[in-house]
Symmetry: D2
Subunit: 425 residues, 4 copies
């Protein structure tokens, strides 16, 4: 194991022990920022690279402040954490060669999930001592690995900066889970000058030692938080005086699932949570839903969303209750640029670790907000792709026993670094 | 069996054989009118005694014309049927003594039901040869008996007209079923001059030889016809292009039943019919509901109705379909006048046939639109009541084996006739 | 203000400051037990007077232990609290005269509610410094007053014990809210020897200085906790692998409200809470409902309950999920004994404070589990009633601004004490 | 216009004037049989070629007899109609060359739809005098054209029978609409000896002068008729005695639409019709649904169907009603044989009329039961395909203004006939 590989594993395990969820990646960002500056990158952080109007589903002040205190006490870098104390935890790190050449951006994400990590003895992070230190928080989607890949890439770029042409931008994005963070960075124009944009992910069902140069199947998605507000009354004494938010929500949930299929492409709908009422004998005056729509492309997703909105409005009217719909996450669909994908595949095929590489995968699967960066880049005439490094998974993504094969980290760093040399203006 | 009793049975069986539903009682009304005029009553008929604006759920022209032809061919009195050919089948027959005295009104109803009469051999009308001559039409609520009582009463009044004081008005009402006909006669002011108003009914669960002088428990009611209009599309080919009226109707039905109870009195709700769609593989563009609300008093019924309307509007909005709500029947609640009830009870107690008489029954039960007459009379300072002659029933009201004990007819005629003499201005 | 009245107010305000919810009334019970023993009563406590099989909706061990610690630190009587540490907080205190005579029982309840008491300056408990010391806990249904009345009654009995005949039993019941505690005491046979049973309540809409000797309108009720257990799956990736507990619960809620009215009496149904799901993009595998049924009598309530159970079973089947229904509260209907009510009314009429006394109130209202005691007593040939002392309320029961007129406490003590002398075997 | 083309148009317009729906194609079949026998084909008809156990959604005896009378009076061939009088209207006509060679089968369908044909003056069938002679019946899916193509093909085969090798079987199938008729013929083994099977259709969105040699996108489908049977009761008088079939059906409809999407392929669900109840004031004791499921392959369709069945069972349980599910139509998915498709495309490319030919179309669209024949043939080692002749449509399939370009008929006959010569064993 060479020295960089040792560092990669050390970083990854440190991030793994201190998982931070979306817009709270303060400890992570402070450490990342400190390393990047040491490596000679120029940094832009926080609101410089995030438009607050497009931060979706950001935690409230109280939670943000509490987390800030926690981060301070748990190893955050004190020289940098102030920049991230309000929860704007994005970083763009630029290495400008001063020479002519293309602007190339790589994007990694940093956030963890609200999952309680397995305590089983055969779970590697437990056995090796880097299990999450927090209950109900876990890196179960490899973003700890992605952040690490970003730092590894930065290290190689810094070492070889003399041979660099053009510029490289490393984007460390908050809040990918729930597709909440990318749009705010894209709207802050951080990729408007980018010629080549490469987002990357580990795993996602791609086998170990396999590589997908362009994953095109992301579904467009919208995440909605819905609240109904009615009027409480005593269910035995004055049932007629209530306005029943629980029934409005139940009716909405049922009818949301009944939104029609679309003939032009796949759709998905889910009401993942419903919470209503405050007591058995009280007509419920409050109810909330967490809803998610998806479509094979952005138009189809818009169709589903508009039907969902009609159902919610109708349910509220039925029970004479008020309602509010808040968009707390959004992802679009996007196709990768074939030319760029071919270059990436060529780099992957040079890797001794990778046994099989695929140019394009178009099968529908999940959602991602890196697509916002991709669409911005493509609209400005650049090329963009979303590539996947297969890895051996101990269990599926978002599972409490999720774990990766750490060997993949070094491979990903090498392949991505090698692509830089092959990309010409 | 005296001569009047023979007539009563003959009349009743004739009406029983030719049942006519609401606003189509043309054959019945033509025969009634002819008899009444022969007995010396002055007649007002059709639109003279019915305000068309308040006729609810009246059949369309085509059905009305077709029935007119049927009536002509099946024993209607040709000298009178023209008056009723448009379906305004109400009659008010007045006997004015010319002497001072109170104006007393009796109300009977004439319409039958859409029920197929039993063909069982032990069903008396079948055995005795007076079963309905029409499929799916039947006098299963004793209105054939009520009409007969009206004619019997007219006969006695005519015979004894010299001893009469004041005026007697006999009201023959169409379309009591569905509470559709009374309001149009009340709005035509036919009881505005009435001092004493007596409506009557046979059966309704009151045992044979029992009498209830004032039945107060009628629930206020509203009958609504609801239609949803969406947009058809091929369910396999273009599901997203449909606007689903069937789902709007299904959702409305479910949520209508979920309208809350009321703490101040009984309520009832029913969606008796739902019809939607025109083909298995087509998104349904049409749906209809037949809805009925009831409340222990008119305010409570209004509450239920307003909730139902909200549910319908909300269901339509959910599925982006249009809707229409039509009121096709209405009944109010009304309490009988105690003083008048006491006089009636006294008359009943003089009858050798009646074994038990009750002044008031306040338990909630069914709906009636005679209450519109009662409320009009009471608002003008008169007295009103709704009395019930118990009878032995072969089966419950609206059952295909319904039948009465015909002996009750003569008793009812006598008791009602005797009340006339006891009512003073 | 006499000395007893001072004590009553002091007790009531102390209980008010330290509200304890059902089966956690440890501090309250320890203080009550200490006072009663000082007054010369013989005590039976805990499982001696409560059958654990019939304790419904009792908190789990963890919560019970945590509350025990809290009680120890907040003024519980340390000599008595051990008896109540497991949450069996009932007390039966007996004063046996040794002379022949009837056994008379009085029942009061001790539990508080999960309500956050008003912090408004015009709220008397706030102004006078006896507002609840706990967030989200409050005596908002006068049980602090009832416990106080029990202690006042004990004081008078103790003072006049020489003139006592027969036995007096004072029953201090836990967990009346949710109708959870009485049945366990009734099943433990604490009233099987009772000749006269009197339960009492303050307020409930009866005006200040009014008295109702027999409140008969309690609806029979059942409280059900329902859980659905399905199977989670990723809503985007594998929607077909989920078994959706949220939809089962939503469908159950809607159809529960659609359970028909009953022609023989009032009913009530409520789904007061619905909680389902653990993440927006996961098919929900868990859902829970808090349901409540009521009926004008126990048969009607059973009808409603059986319909609700069918709806729940059907909803589970629809979505291929498992379900469990737990009865966590129960109350029956019961009519008071007229003879006993008349004696109580006579006592009330002797009170200078009470201006109007009513023998019976039959109008339907709320539910109570004192009815279990009443039915046990009546089945054993005894007499029972539930009487109400009207009082001026600052706001309705279960409202955050609820407060009573403390003058009523002394009046209630006097009237109840006087009844003892009038009850003969 | 050559003589055959004249005949084709004459036949097609005759069939168009006398549309007959599924299992009632008696007039059509009698004429077809007569022509085929005249042309020298050997006929098998009725139950010889249809297994009654697999006839789905066949009309009842009464309707079948009535239609038989109608057919007799409206131009049926009296020598042949007896064979079809019970509604088994399938025909297999064989021309055996006596020489060695492959067995080639062509399948056409004969049934019409329950649609009222447009009476607009610009509707060609109206203008040209061949509009449907029946209200609410119409050839709106070109099956009149398909039957005609079958007869044209028979004519050419007969003319050129000396050059024929092997056998040709012409299959005239009843009841393709609703996917009800093919399975009964396939189960009767009519294609078990077939080497090449070709089904054909006009239109379906393929442009005029275009040809698709293999249409693979048919969705597997199941058609279900569902009935619920509860118990009626008077909605005002005894609501608790009803068992509400309308609510069971409404709840089923809503929850059927909520059946999840499938990650492995498209699905469709429709409840096209819901009919419930017999009167406004009666708790509905009967309800029926017409349901249709589809899936991109047969496994996916089975999944959807099993979910639908669970919903129906659960809905019935909710309302304590009985239910019955009847399968009244079925289609499987099937892919065409590429080799056969290539031969057909070659024939199409030789046609001067066809401008563009496509080998395969895999996009999902509608359902067909010719797939049963295809799967049988392929399982026996034969080849099968479903080809489409584009044509200019006046309006979409199943639209009241549907009409084809009659020129396509001759083209289709020629291309199909030419394929015979190219198919070797």
């Amino acid at each position: 194991m060479n020295k960089l590989e040792e560092k990669l594993i050390k970083w990854r395990r440190d991030f793994h022990r201190y998982p931070e969820t979306g817009f709270l990646e303060m400890r992570t960002a402070s450490i990342v920022a400190s390393i990047l500056e040491d490596l000679g990158f120029q940094l832009q952080v926080g609101k410089q690279v995030m438009d607050p109007d497009y931060c979706m589903g950001k935690p409230g002040e109280e939670e943000t402040e509490a987390h800030y205190k926690w981060a301070l006490e748990h190893g955050a870098n004190k020289d940098y954490i102030e920049h991230f104390s309000e929860g704007y935890t994005g970083i763009v790190a630029t290495m400008d060669s001063g020479k002519e050449g293309p602007t190339i951006a790589f994007r990694v994400d940093m956030d963890a999930l609200d999952i309680h990590e397995s305590e089983a003895d055969n779970h590697v992070p437990k056995k090796e001592g880097f299990r999450s230190t927090l209950p109900n928080k876990m890196h179960a989607c490899a973003h700890d690995g992605h952040t690490t890949i970003g730092l590894g890439l930065a290290t190689l770029i810094s070492e070889k900066k003399n041979s660099l042409k053009g510029k490289v931008k490393l984007i460390f994005q908050p809040a990918e889970e729930g597709t909440r963070g990318a749009r705010s960075m894209a709207e802050a124009k951080v990729v408007d000058d980018v010629d080549y944009f490469i987002a990357t992910h580990l795993g996602t069902g791609v086998p170990d030692r396999h590589f997908v140069a362009s994953n095109n199947g992301f579904l467009a998605t919208t995440k909605l938080d819905v609240t109904f507000k009615g009027e409480a009354s005593h269910a035995g004494g004055k049932p007629e005086e209530g306005r029943n938010a629980l029934l409005a929500a139940a009716s909405a949930a049922l009818n949301i699932y009944a939104v029609p299929r679309h003939s032009e492409g796949s759709t998905r709908i889910n009401v993942g949570e419903l919470h209503a009422g405050s007591g058995r004998n009280i007509i419920a005056d409050r109810a909330s839903l967490k809803v998610e729509t998806r479509g094979e492309n952005s138009e189809i997703n818009e169709y589903v969303k508009s039907q969902v909105e009609a159902v919610i409005a109708g349910s509220a009217q039925m029970y004479k209750v008020d309602y509010e719909i808040k968009t707390v996450g959004e992802g679009v669909s996007s196709r990768g640029s074939k030319e760029l994908a071919e270059i990436l595949r060529a780099c992957a095929e040079e890797s001794s670790y990778i046994e099989k590489s695929i140019l394009e995968d178009n099968s529908p699967a999940g959602s991602e907000d890196a697509t916002f960066f991709m669409e911005h880049v493509k609209q400005n005439g650049g090329q963009a792709t979303y590539c996947i490094f297969g890895t051996e998974l101990a269990a599926g993504h978002h599972n409490e026993k999720f774990d990766i094969n750490e060997e993949t980290l070094q491979t990903a760093v090498n392949v991505l670094f090698n692509s830089i040399g092959k990309l010409k203006e």
